[in-house]
Symmetry: C2
Subunit: 129 residues, 2 copies
């Protein structure tokens, strides 16, 4: 099967799900090179839209995402990557999941998770993730 | 909080997760109007990129997605919508989840779920979803 990279401008969205807990940890994008690197290494590599280059998740923090299974959707334009998440969390703000806030109809947010690590200690001033 | 619709060309990806089972059911996109309709009605409305208009999930099948909680990610450019999925499945191919195939490094797929309904009976020739 050929993935459809065209609908999102050369990328496919990749949902990252913790295989053990079922929690959705984050969403990233992959171009063909990122997907290829992900499959070759067994650890998730995204394409960073802001930096316009491949971005290995955990390259500075060590919080890599070990691929357990990749699933594809019916239209072949989105991936679900089931992973073992190494370390206390994937979010650069110090949470297990990037989806740590609820969002109501008025646009108000509330934090619904506990911090699992201190991002300053892990990322310092660098802020690469 | 303002969502960042610009990174995906006026849209945000919205991951749909079954609140009860934790299964990821599908991924769609929302523009501000789709998000507003989702929040107003309590049922998921996407923006269809192929039809270039709002698309209420389940409008023909009756398989609507009742919103239980919306979460937003750290960068405010992706949503996680936790739902109660009405009916036997969300996928127009007859599965509970659109992610019913695994995808290996060679691009080969294998079906990893059972069909839960006959799509011909639900969608007929119409193929709107």
């Amino acid at each position: 099967m050929e993935l459809d990279f065209e609908k999102s401008g050369g990328l496919v969205p990749a949902i990252i799900q913790d295989e053990r807990t079922g929690d959705v940890l984050m969403l990233g994008f992959m171009n063909p090179a990122a997907l290829s690197e992900t499959q070759r290494t067994g650890e998730v590599v995204f394409f960073s839209r802001s930096r316009n280059k491949l971005w290995k998740k955990g390259e500075s923090s060590g919080h890599v995402l070990k691929v357990r299974e990749v699933r594809v959707d019916c239209d072949a334009d989105a991936l679900l990557v089931r992973v073992e998440a190494v370390g206390p969390g994937v979010c650069h703000e110090g949470y297990r999941s990037c989806f740590f806030r609820s969002f109501d109809a008025g646009g108000n947010t509330s934090v619904i998770a506990e911090r699992t690590f201190d991002p300053e200690k892990i990322y310092g001033a660098e802020k690469t993730r």
